[in-house]
């Protein structure tokens, strides 16, 4: 059976140039970049070359790139790092996040609030289209706000968030962080995140390896390490830097920048095509149709159909897709994002996220549309 991969937002296909770039750092002697000999120097050079590439991806200074073991860790380092530093030096600390953040951020702030009596979390609403409500954000800011974290684009709906307005509303009174993991494949982050202090990205959503990401700083922000041991990454992240992972991330951002226009053009065409087809399907609604969205995501709800059944039949036909929200067991679960948007449960339970990219072929989109139509009418029969 032909595999039709429409789950790029979960993990994008590994790019050939990434595999090629990582190749030499996965065999035999790979020096520890902290060492003082030839092998170490070679490794260190590769890491620093990679750092330059990643800095260019964000328009940041190379010295302000911290390699991490993925997007979740980058988000955690930003949020916990800033909050921990603040709460040690202030009587109270609040952290402001949107209700639709990825669990990388939500679970982190919940943990901090649980563990420290002087830390509180304030949640910012989104509107019915899933766009952050700036007035709600303003109402949550206070003198003790250490950090404001709002994602660049939502990983379930693909809705792009008003990050520039967030930065203006905060006006430098607190540190700002954005989880740009979902946005990275499609949005020029140099411009889009220019006013944000800390940006998290992740390698495997742009064709790089998993367990590879970075936290990028726009200025010299002071924050605690989460794993201090060893003092690597200027003391922000202890542990030997994974040369292959850094090189893989660099190759992925380089390819993403090179392909940017083509990726957006293709994905936009696929998105239009899928939405046009979805509009013809019974009881199907396109989520956030009136909001600015990433070109590579279409989120649909089918009233009266359970995601579990839809995904099962799609899987049987070779289509890899997602309900976008799943619990640790792997079961589809009602999404906190749709709940924050006020989408009723009977619709949310019939969620389907189709995500794709520049590598996706027109034939695959045609096949997907045909299969989806067939499966949906079967479940509605």
């Amino acid at each position: 059976m032909t595999q039709l991969y429409f789950d790029h937002a979960a993990s994008a296909p590994r790019r050939d140039e990434v595999v090629a770039a990582m190749e030499q750092w996965q065999h035999g002697v790979v020096g520890n970049p902290s060492g003082a000999h030839r092998a170490a120097r070679e490794a260190r050079k590769a890491v620093e070359d990679a750092r330059d590439e990643v800095a260019a991806f964000l328009g940041a200074k190379p010295g302000n790139v911290i390699f991490t073991g993925g997007g979740t860790e980058a988000c955690h380092l930003a949020v916990a790092g800033v909050v921990n530093k603040h709460r040690r030096n202030n009587p109270t600390t609040s952290v402001v996040v949107s209700k639709i953040e990825h669990h990388a951020v939500l679970d982190c702030v919940e943990m901090l609030e649980r563990d420290y009596d002087n830390v509180s979390v304030r949640y910012v609403d989104v509107d019915a289209e899933g766009v952050l409500d700036i007035s709600s954000l303003e109402s949550q800011l206070s003198d003790d706000t250490a950090l404001v974290s709002v994602m660049s684009a939502n990983n379930e709906t693909g809705v792009i968030q008003p990050i520039g307005a967030v930065a203006s509303a905060v006006g430098g009174r607190s540190v700002t962080h954005t989880d740009a993991v979902g946005a990275a494949p499609f949005i020029d982050l140099v411009e889009f995140t220019k006013d944000i202090d800390m940006i998290s990205i992740c390698s495997h959503k742009i064709g790089g390896p998993v367990n590879s990401g970075a936290l990028i700083l726009r200025s010299d922000i002071s924050f605690d390490a989460v794993v201090p041991g060893g003092g690597q990454e200027k003391g922000h992240r202890g542990g030997t830097v994974d040369v292959a992972a850094a090189v893989g991330l660099a190759a992925a951002v380089k390819a993403t920048m090179k392909d940017h226009e083509l990726t957006v053009k293709r994905a936009t065409a696929y998105q239009d095509q899928i939405i046009a087809a979805a509009k013809q399907m019974k009881n199907c609604e396109v989520t956030s149709l009136n909001a600015a969205r990433l070109p590579g995501t279409v989120h649909l709800t089918f009233e009266g159909i359970a995601s579990d059944e839809l995904l099962f039949l799609l899987d049987q036909e070779g289509v890899c897709a997602s309900a976008a929200a799943s619990c640790s067991s792997g079961a589809a679960e009602p999404s906190h994002v749709l709940s924050a948007m006020g989408v009723p449960l009977n619709k949310a339970r019939g969620s389907l996220r189709l995500s794709f990219g520049g590598e996706t072929k027109p034939d695959e989109v045609n096949a997907l549309i045909e299969i989806l139509g067939k499966v949906v009418s079967r479940l509605q029969a």
Partner: protein, 353 residues
């Protein structure tokens, strides 16, 4: 045949899947995510899902997780809590089987194109003259026909119970032979949504205000003691009830939550010979049994079946041939055939008398 196997993550359903594959069926595994809260046993926890998934991987079949947490809450947990609040003792496992496994899962399996659904229950489906009968499992100690008592022809004809003819030891031997990591996993015993370390009381207290009650001797009216949680007292029980002044054991005869009163009596005083059945729940596997039919009635998972006569006079009930301790309202009575005591003929929920 295309078979959907409900895999709980335990050894029985693991082996059921393995045997069906060896029999040449096209098998897909599904684990039902039922309980959204904390769990330490039964078939709801993440580690059980992981076990089921790993077994499916080793067997080389697809595995899916179906989320039924909302339905489980609505059809199993809420009625369980409401039943206790009303002084009844519903059986959540029976309700889970009725509404989820053999209700929603069967419907889903049909929609998804499966011909049969299989589970790892210790019970058997026997076909005779074109009809399918539910029969006790081969292993007396593990027989689960009681919790499947409400199945009818339509469901039974679609059901496979691949390990029902085996005893538990044989199931474990097969599990080891198939290389399944669940082969020596301990049996689950308790209600899956109640943490064993905390028990029913903690669970109920987290959901409803519990009621204290006086424990009163039903003949003398003497107050023998008190309980913090009348909701947990079940008719027929002796545990937690002190003997009367005469030194004789006392048993719970009646639980009245509203008036905060638990009546107790001696064994002779509480014995009953008639059990009312809730007509809306009464289900016959095939043809309706006639008024006056003799049956073997069983009202707990591993209870001893008692000879009884089924009656329908101003409502259904059974007349026990020998008196027995009372049965709590909300429990299920499963009716087995008198002439062939392993065959299930129907089931019903106990109604107030």
């Amino acid at each position: 045949m295309k078979v959907l196997v409900a895999m709980s993550g335990g050894v029985d359903s693991s082996v059921a899947a393995g045997l069906l594959i060896e029999q040449g069926h096209e098998v897909v595994g599904a684990t039902l995510k039922l309980w959204g809260g904390v769990s330490d046993s039964g078939c709801c926890s993440v580690s059980d899902v992981d076990d089921a998934r790993r077994v499916a991987q080793v067997l080389g079949i697809d595995h899916h997780v179906f989320n039924y947490t909302d339905e489980f809450e609505k059809h199993v947990v809420e009625p369980f809590v409401a039943g206790h609040a009303a002084g009844q003792s519903p059986n959540p496992c029976i309700e889970c089987n009725r509404f989820l496994k053999f209700g929603l899962l069967f419907e889903r399996a049909k929609r998804l194109g499966f011909e049969k659904v299989a589970t790892g229950h210790h019970a058997q489906v026997v076909e005779r003259d074109g009809k399918h009968f539910l029969v006790r499992g081969e292993d007396n100690q593990k027989d689960q026909s009681y919790v499947l008592g409400y199945l009818t022809e339509e469901e039974l004809s679609m059901l496979l119970l691949p390990i029902g003819h085996m005893n538990k030891t044989a199931v474990r031997v097969e599990g080891e032979r198939l290389g399944l990591r669940t082969w020596d996993k301990p049996d689950s015993q308790d209600v899956c949504f109640i943490e064993a370390s905390k028990g029913r009381e903690v669970f109920l207290r987290s959901r409803i205000p519990v009621t204290s009650a006086k424990i009163v001797d039903r003949t003398t009216g003497e107050v023998l003691g008190e309980t913090d949680t009348a909701e947990l007292m079940t008719v027929g029980q002796r545990r937690g009830v002190l003997p009367g002044r005469d030194g004789e054991k006392r048993y719970v005869a009646k639980v009245d939550i509203a008036s905060q009163r638990v009546e107790v009596g001696t064994l002779e005083q509480i014995l009953i010979s008639r059990i009312s059945l809730d007509a809306s729940s009464l289900t016959f596997s095939h043809d309706e049994l006639r008024d006056g039919a003799t049956v073997l009635a069983q009202w707990s998972a591993h209870g001893i079946p008692k000879r009884a006569t089924l009656r329908n006079e101003n409502g259904w009930f059974i007349e026990l041939h020998e008196p027995a301790r009372p049965v709590a309202v909300g429990q299920s009575v499963v009716l087995y055939r008198e002439s062939e005591p392993t065959i299930v003929e129907g089931a019903a929920i106990v109604a107030p008398s």
